[in-house]
Symmetry: C2
Subunit: 227 residues, 2 copies
Amino acid sequence: MTQLSGEAAAHRDATVGVAVDVVPLAIDDGRLHAALVPVVNGRERGRLAFPGGRVRESESLDAAAGRWLERHLPGSDAHVEQLYTFGEPGRDPASRVVSVAYLALLARPMAAPGIVWHPCDALPHLAYDHAAIARVAIERLRGKLAYTNLAFALIGRTFTLAELQQVYEAVLGRPLDRRNFRKRVLSLGLLTPLAETRHGAHRPARLYRFAVRRPIDLAMAGERTHG
Amino acid sequence: MTQLSGEAAAHRDATVGVAVDVVPLAIDDGRLHAALVPVVNGRERGRLAFPGGRVRESESLDAAAGRWLERHLPGSDAHVEQLYTFGEPGRDPASRVVSVAYLALLARPMAAPGIVWHPCDALPHLAYDHAAIARVAIERLRGKLAYTNLAFALIGRTFTLAELQQVYEAVLGRPLDRRNFRKRVLSLGLLTPLAETRHGAHRPARLYRFAVRRPIDLAMAGERTHG
DNA sequence: CCAGTATGCGTATCTGATACGCAAAGTGGA
DNA sequence: TCCACTTTGCGTATCAGATACGCATACTGG
């Protein structure tokens, strides 16, 4: 906020509410999926929406996002980061609510009561402005995948290169060349090869894990002049 | 907002206020500057902060940002875009306020009553968490300059390549090679050469203008595989 | 008219992205 | 047992863009 120069005092006109909406995303069967819950009250009852709700006076926005995620997907151990804030006056027909949207990346689409996982390329009609939130979420994820190690949040602790490639293909929505993908991802130095291999129907594949499982911005290293 | 399953109803517990803070940035003398105003009330009185204040019930967040910018820098004709939302419970000692921060890019550091322009690489001690807001703003601007045409907002309608280069150097904080800058920026096809030239102490320089003066994402064109 | 400086253009080189060939290492069926 | 088949793993050729840098051009000012 800041200085209330001539404006209403801090405790007055608290007519604008604050909420968070969490967009849980995970890969399933080579496709990106989003977790939705049915709306229980109001004019939008019955429609699907992202988990979310009011921010308490004593909690931070990040804490509120974590709390609402935990309520609907308990123990999900997701990577959560702020996405964008939606505050059009008419976005909730009941009252004026500003919603801080969050991205939550899960290693797997875990089941939970009331939760429905939908493929992101064919979402149903969502409540409120959640279709716009979904668009921004997927767009952001696509962008960040290219210059961060964010993929670690969408895959288990150990994985083969083919499995990691499936994550990228699911998010980007297009096929990648196996051999170039291998070179690229290994040259970044983010992966640690393990001694074990995964045995399937054919040649066993080496297992890897991410050296660091927290967000790293790769653009910092290779500084770009541009301009 | 969203479903208020078991939570307090929409009109109750409106104890969290919503505000916007605008970070006005402009280039002056080859350096990036930010516009600040003194805080007039509360414990932080006298310190400098970014322009901002409460969001009205009937206005959108973008409209609130534009209103507070217009109040302090009337007629600035800035490019305004949402930055990040800050909502730590203790960020304002007076009351719980969530602030949606906005970036405002100006072609020149225009003067206005009460406004103080400070170089971004040597900001004074700011009120509230505005130092963090400033960091995020500059970081975001640096990032977006590399893959958008956002520079159009930080320069006048017509300019020489040397002047445009100064904008990039001021934001990025490091010198660029003249000849490579020229090639890069011209190959992007964003600039339209004009017939006129600007005459100074030496060889006259051709004037250019941005073909489009609204944000364009360049990464969309050259799609990156990565992986 | 010449020294000085900024503009404008071109070339060589390096790095990274892309396209694609091919051997290696397993499984499963004949 | 062995061979067809599939997936993994590695290498090479080529191309586009980034970077380093040389140099002529076109003005001003003394």
